[in-house]
Every structure is written in structure tokens, then in C-alpha cells.
């Protein structure tokens, strides 16, 4: 560059296409688009065939039910994009639920108890982050350990008791709707968080760092990304959002119990992976994840209304999850097969990455 500037000689300018594929193909032929398409299809078919699916009350309950999964799916997406995983989220929910319950029972106002529960959630996430980034342990093993630990603390603190006395104002708020619509008020909180997380992941240097870590953390470190700090922050975010979901769960059902939300971590991870996030890290988008959660929720709700028992939903969730990963690898294989021989479809180097 500088040489040509000095001599002033016109050098042949080589232009690269910014993308290997045209815009419409990039937008429409993607995992996220497939999930959104699936969601729209389910909603249309269910509306036409399932009695009462289109009623406001269905939408209300659907959103209330999947709200904890929607909340936790946000930080979980970021964590899985870095190639890590957090299995302790549901236990953190249980822990925050119990802390809210015991403190409130001891006479503390809900607001203060809630803040303490959020702090405990953050600390729980920080412990995960510490073990993964500072001690250098694999997150899968660490969070299996803290899954047992946090659940054990929750059950240990409250035993088999349940705290059910909560201020009506807060329990009503958790179930309230926006004006006359059938959309729960808590959706507002979710939308704000979703926008914040979407900006963080897709439009900030921090977010690009998350993708870089997922693709190759060595390379990310050499390009100046603080790998450890990024992961540590993500685990703390996961902890605090899980605690928030735990508080919501407690207020919505009006009970704080040690075994609240047991097993929810698998639902969250299933939804995130269905939404097109690669378990290997480095790939994924938040709109796909949100559509994934809604798809599972809508499908479940439609099937329940069609009085198909809830176990079929489990089968469908499982099969969808398996199909979604198998189809990706099948399509990649097909693409390779088509492009490899003869070299007709050349891959443009600049299109990579």
C-alpha cells in the first residue's frame, strides 16, 4: 500500500466480494430461518386445526410457562458460542428461589430479599467462572459438580418445607398482563434483556470476541481478546439471569421450594441447540434461539390442547434436537459432495470467515 502511494503507480485493484452468497440466500437459507419458518408453520397449522389454540389465554399461559427458559437461553447462547456449557442454571434458580423464600419468611421485604438472591446467583456464576477460567477445568465437569452443589444448598436450606407467603403485589405482578392484551408484563423485562444481549453478542467488540473464542480460543488470545475475562463475565451473567428466572418462577407459582425447576437446564440447552447454536462454539444467533424456545413451547401447547399427552412433546423435543444436528451435518456433507469434484463451484477465499 505505502509503496504504491509513494511511487504513485496505478496498481491493479483487486476487489473481493464481501460475501460468497447473495443477500437473500444468506437470510433465507440458514438455520435461524429454518427454525423461524418451523415456528410460523406450527402456529399456522395449530391455529387452523387445534381448537382454542388461537385464544388469548393460550398465548398467556404459553408465555408464562416458557419465560424462565427464554430468560436463561440468553446467557446460555453466549456461553455455548464460546464453546463452554453451563449445566448449573436450574440449580441456581432453585437456590435463588429458596433464598428469596427463607429471607422473606424471616421478615425481610421481597425487594431486598430479591436483590440478595440476585447477588447469590452472581456469586454462583462467579464460582463456575473461577473454576473454568482460573483453575482451568472443563466447564462440563465443573457445572455438573455445581449442579449438585447448588441444588444441595437449596434443598439443605429449606428441607422439604415450602415458603408460600409472598406479598400479593409481587405474585400478581408476575402473572399480570400488559393492559388489555394477553401478553404477560414480564415479557417487557424479557424484551429489554433480549435486546441487551443481542446488542452485546452481535454488535459489540465483546460479542465478536465471543465468536472468536468459540472458533479458536488460541487464535482469539493471540489477537488480543481476553479469553478468560470474557468467559468469567459470561458465567456471572448466566448466574444472575438464572437467579432472576428463579425469582420469577417463585413469584409466579407463589412457592419457594428446594426442588423448584429441577431439570430445566436440559430444556434450556435443547432449545438453544435447536435454535442453531453449534455445540462446538463459534456459531449461532439470538433470534434463532428465541424462535427455538418459542417453537418448542408452541408445539407443546398445541399438542396439549389437542389432548395429546405431554410425553409426546418430550419425544418431539428429542427428535427435533437430533434431526436439527443431523440435518446440518448431512447438508454440509451434501454441499461438500457437490462442490468438490471438477471444481466447478469454486470457493472464494474471501468469503470465508
Amino acid at each position: 500500500m505505502t509503496e504504491s502511494a509513494i511511487t504513485g503507480a496505478p496498481t491493479t485493484v483487486r476487489t473481493y466480494k464481501n460475501y460468497g452468497r447473495p443477500l437473500w440466500r444468506r437470510l433465507l437459507i440458514s438455520r435461524e430461518a429454518a427454525v423461524i419458518g418451523g415456528l410460523i408453520l406450527v402456529v399456522i397449522v395449530a391455529n387452523a386445526t387445534v381448537y382454542r389454540f388461537g385464544t388469548p389465554i393460550t398465548l398467556n399461559y404459553l408465555l408464562l410457562d416458557i419465560m424462565p427458559i427464554l430468560f436463561i437461553a440468553l446467557p446460555m447462547t453466549l456461553i455455548i458460542v464460546t464453546g463452554e456449557i453451563d449445566l448449573s442454571v436450574a440449580s441456581t434458580m432453585g437456590l435463588s428461589s429458596v433464598i428469596l423464600g427463607t429471607l422473606h419468611e424471616g421478615g425481610m421485604p421481597i425487594e431486598l430479599a430479591g436483590i440478595i438472591a440476585l447477588i447469590v446467583g452472581t456469586l454462583a456464576g462467579a464460582l463456575n467462572g473461577f473454576l473454568v477460567t482460573v483453575v482451568g477445568l472443563p466447564s462440563l465437569a465443573v457445572t455438573i459438580g455445581t449442579l449438585a452443589l447448588y441444588r444441595g444448598l437449596a434443598v439443605g436450606l429449606l428441607g422439604t418445607k415450602a415458603v408460600t407467603e409472598f406479598t400479593e403485589f409481587w405474585t400478581d405482578l408476575a402473572k399480570s398482563k400488559i393492559g388489555d392484551t394477553s401478553i404477560p408484563s414480564v415479557t417487557i423485562l424479557f424484551v429489554i434483556l433480549a435486546i441487551a444481549f443481542a446488542i452485546l453478542l452481535h454488535f459489540t467488540p465483546f460479542g465478536r470476541g465471543i465468536f472468536a473464542i468459540g472458533l479458536n480460543d488460541e487464535a482469539a488470545r493471540f489477537s488480543g481478546i481476553r479469553v478468560e475475562r470474557t468467559k468469567f463475565i459470561l458465567f456471572m451473567l448466566s448466574g444472575v439471569i438464572s437467579a432472576l428466572a428463579g425469582i420469577y418462577y417463585t413469584l409466579r407459582f407463589g412457592t419457594a421450594r428446594g426442588d423448584n425447576a429441577t431439570g430445566l437446564e436440559l430444556s434450556v440447552i435443547a432449545a438453544v441447540l435447536l435454535g442453531g447454536v453449534s455445540i462446538f462454539g463459534g456459531r449461532g444467533a439470538l433470534h434463532g434461539v428465541i424462535a427455538g424456545v418459542l417453537l418448542i413451547g408452541a408445539l407443546g401447547s398445541a399438542l396439549r390442547l389437542a389432548s395429546i399427552t405431554s410425553d409426546v412433546i418430550n419425544i418431539i423435543t428429542g427428535v427435533l434436537l437430533v434431526l436439527s444436528v443431523v440435518s446440518t451435518s448431512f447438508l454440509t456433507w451434501l454441499h461438500k459432495k457437490r462442490t468438490k469434484p471438477g471444481g466447478k463451484k469454486t470457493v472464494i477465499p474471501a468469503a470465508k470467515g
Binding site: 456449557i85 473454576l131 483453575v135 482451568g136 477445568l137 472443563p138 462440563l140 465437569a141 465443573v142 455438573i144 459438580g145 455445581t146 449442579l147 449438585a148 452443589l149 447448588y150 441444588r151 444441595g152 444448598l153 434443598v155 439443605g156 429449606l158 428441607g159 422439604t160 428446594g258 431439570g263 436440559l266 440447552i269 435443547a270 441447540l273 455445540i279 462446538f280 399427552t309 405431554s310 410425553d311 409426546v312 412433546i313 418430550n314 419425544i315 418431539i316 423435543t317 428429542g318 427428535v319 427435533l320 434436537l321 437430533v322 444436528v325 443431523v326 446440518t328 451435518s329 448431512f330
Partner: protein, 343 residues
């Protein structure tokens, strides 16, 4: 080094070396912890060990988890994980009861074979999806965890198998002892010895370690990675199936939720026993001792005056402690190797 000094290969030296290896082995630490737990609990309450029931329960309770943990260890050693074992166990446990109800007088051995076959088949589905489609085991087995459990609930409904539906000799198998040792424990230990011997001495077992250490290198070296991984999952499924049959024998009642959450216990047992979650190291022996430690601690806590509500917290601390210990040991070995190289 010009002269290679070989140590004298006398019987005494061999014993010494064997003892040194034993003392240094990762499994020894877990074994000592297990013995300590049993000792402390026994001092506090002699009935924990020195009563017929206490001794029997000590051996009996962890046997089923031990079987599943051995299968899980085989899979984890190949750098995979099988989260569907709990669902597989539930499905085979229900199949066992169903067979006794639908075919009265069916020989017990046929039921065992059917349970193992179903487990192996479910494992084959996992393995085939993972090995041929080249997709991560975590995702696939998370999917089949849901799917198998769903099939189980669909099949069982609100129905349940009661102890009265199952023939007496089969139920007796669950609590029977031969020379003070429960039959279930004997089955589990036989499987453990077979698996331990295979993994340590046979080509197939060593190849599983090689695949777990570095799948790409194993492939370049010419190992049949796809086939081996498939076999590992079939074995894991078959052992979960066997565990399902034994669960019915042990408890008699089976509903649609038997074995849910078992997958985490099995992974935890393997991790506590020193099987590295990223494959290539650890032994099935460690996983089996891990399973024993996990459930023995659960039983010992109430005796030590800790409310049983805190059990899960202790298990969590144990898992984290085990992986931190592994990390420290690995770092120390790495440092020693570097020192040896730089000398």
C-alpha cells in the same frame, strides 16, 4: 545414556513396583476416601458395617449405579458422553416388568437377555447417529434422553409395575446373598472385572483410549474410529439395560420416572473416579469406586449427624474436589516431564 540399566526382575522387585504403581494410581485416592467414609461411619454407628443388613446394603445399594458408571466410563474414555442412560434404564426396567405380566412363566434368563438387548439397541441408535453423522454426543444423547423418556411415559402412562406382578424368584434375586455377598453385587463385579480387563489388556480397549486421546491421530493411524465408538455406545446401552433389569429385581415397583436423573449420577461417578471428561484417561475401576463412594457417602451422612438434605451439596463438593485434584496432578506431571526433558 550409553548403558541401559534394567532393574533386576526378581519377584520382590516386581511386587515392589506393583505396590508403587498402586500407591500412585489415581484410583487409590478414591479408594482411601471410600474406606475412610466407611470407617468413620462405622465408628459412629457399628451397625453401618457390622450388621447383616448394614453389610448387605453397603454392597447392594451402589451396584446398579456401578454398572451404569462402568458403561459411562467406557464412553467418556472415547471422548464422548451418554446422557441417555437414565432413560434407557427406565425403559428396560419397565420392559422387564411388562414381560413378566404379558408372558407369565417366562424364564428369568430370557428377561435378562431381552433387557440387555433393548439397552444395546438404544445404545446402537445413539452410537449410529454419533459415529456416522459425526455430530457431538452431548447433543444427540440429550435428544435421545428426551425421546426415550417420552416413549417410556407413552408406553407406561399412569400404569406401574408392582412387586406382586413380578415372580418371587426374580424379586429374591434383588436381595439374595451368596456367602454374605449380594447377587447384584456379584453381577456388577463380574461385569466390572470383564470391562476392566478388556480396557487394560485387549487391543479394542487400548484403541478406545487412543481415540479418546486424539480422535484425529487415531484415524490417521488407521484405527476404525467409527466402529469403535459405535461399540462403546452399544456397551454403555447394554449395561444400562442390564441395570434396568436389576432395578426391577431390586425395587419391584416401576413407574415411568425410574432412572430419571441417573445420567448425572453416572457421569459424576466416572468423574469422581478420575475419568477425564475429555477422554483418553481414567479406568472403569475408578468409575466403579466413584459410584461406591457417591452412594456410600449418601448413606453415611445421616449417621454422621448431617441432615440428608445436604447430601447433594456434599456430592457437588466431591465432584469439584475430584476434578481440581486431577488438574493439580496433571499439572505436576507436566512439570516433571518438562524438567526431565530439560535435564
Amino acid at each position: 545414556m550409553t548403558t541401559l540399566i534394567t532393574p533386576p526382575d526378581t519377584a520382590g522387585a516386581r511386587v515392589l513396583r506393583g505396590f508403587g504403581g498402586f500407591a500412585r494410581a489415581r484410583e487409590t485416592g478414591i479408594l482411601i476416601a471410600l474406606v475412610l467414609v466407611i470407617a468413620i461411619a462405622t465408628i459412629k454407628n457399628p451397625n453401618f458395617l457390622f450388621s447383616n443388613d448394614g453389610f448387605r446394603d453397603l454392597l447392594l445399594t451402589p451396584s446398579i449405579l456401578m454398572l451404569v458408571a462402568v458403561g459411562q466410563a467406557v464412553v467418556i474414555i472415547t471422548r464422548s458422553v451418554d446422557l441417555s442412560v437414565g432413560s434407557t434404564l427406565g425403559l428396560t426396567a419397565y420392559l422387564t416388568g411388562r414381560l413378566f405380566i404379558d408372558f407369565p412363566g417366562i424364564p428369568i434368563i430370557v428377561v435378562f437377555l431381552a433387557g440387555i438387548a433393548l439397552g444395546a439397541f438404544l445404545g446402537l441408535i445413539n452410537g449410529a447417529l454419533i459415529a456416522f453423522a459425526k455430530v457431538p454426543a452431548l447433543v444427540i444423547t440429550l435428544g435421545t434422553l428426551y425421546a426415550y423418556r417420552g416413549i417410556n411415559v407413552l408406553w407406561t402412562g399412569s400404569d406401574r409395575i408392582n412387586a406382586s406382578d413380578v415372580p418371587k424368584p426374580f424379586l429374591a434375586l434383588g436381595t439374595q446373598t451368596i456367602l454374605f455377598i449380594p447377587v447384584l453385587t456379584i453381577i456388577a463385579v463380574v461385569v466390572l472385572i470383564a470391562a476392566g480387563w478388556y480396557m487394560r489388556n485387549l487391543r479394542g480397549g487400548r484403541e478406545l483410549y487412543a481415540i479418546g486421546s486424539d480422535p484425529a491421530a487415531a484415524h490417521l493411524y488407521g484405527l476404525k474410529v467409527t466402529q469403535r465408538v459405535l461399540v462403546a455406545f452399544v456397551v454403555c446401552g447394554a449395561l444400562a439395560g442390564l441395570a434396568g433389569v436389576l432395578t426391577t429385581a431390586r425395587y419391584g415397583t416401576v413407574n415411568s420416572q425410574v432412572g430419571s436423573g441417573f445420567e448425572l449420577d453416572a457421569v459424576a461417578a466416572a468423574v469422581i473416579g478420575g475419568v477425564a471428561i475429555f477422554g483418553g484417561s481414567g479406568t472403569v475401576w475408578g468409575a466403579a469406586i466413584g459410584a461406591y463412594l457417591l452412594l456410600t457417602i449418601n448413606r453415611a451422612l445421616p449417621i454422621l449427624g448431617v441432615e440428608d438434605f445436604w447430601q447433594r451439596a456434599v456430592v457437588g463438593v466431591l465432584i469439584i474436589g475430584a476434578i481440581v485434584l486431577d488438574r493439580v496432578l496433571a499439572l505436576r506431571t507436566a512439570r516433571k516431564l518438562v524438567e526431565a526433558r530439560d535435564k
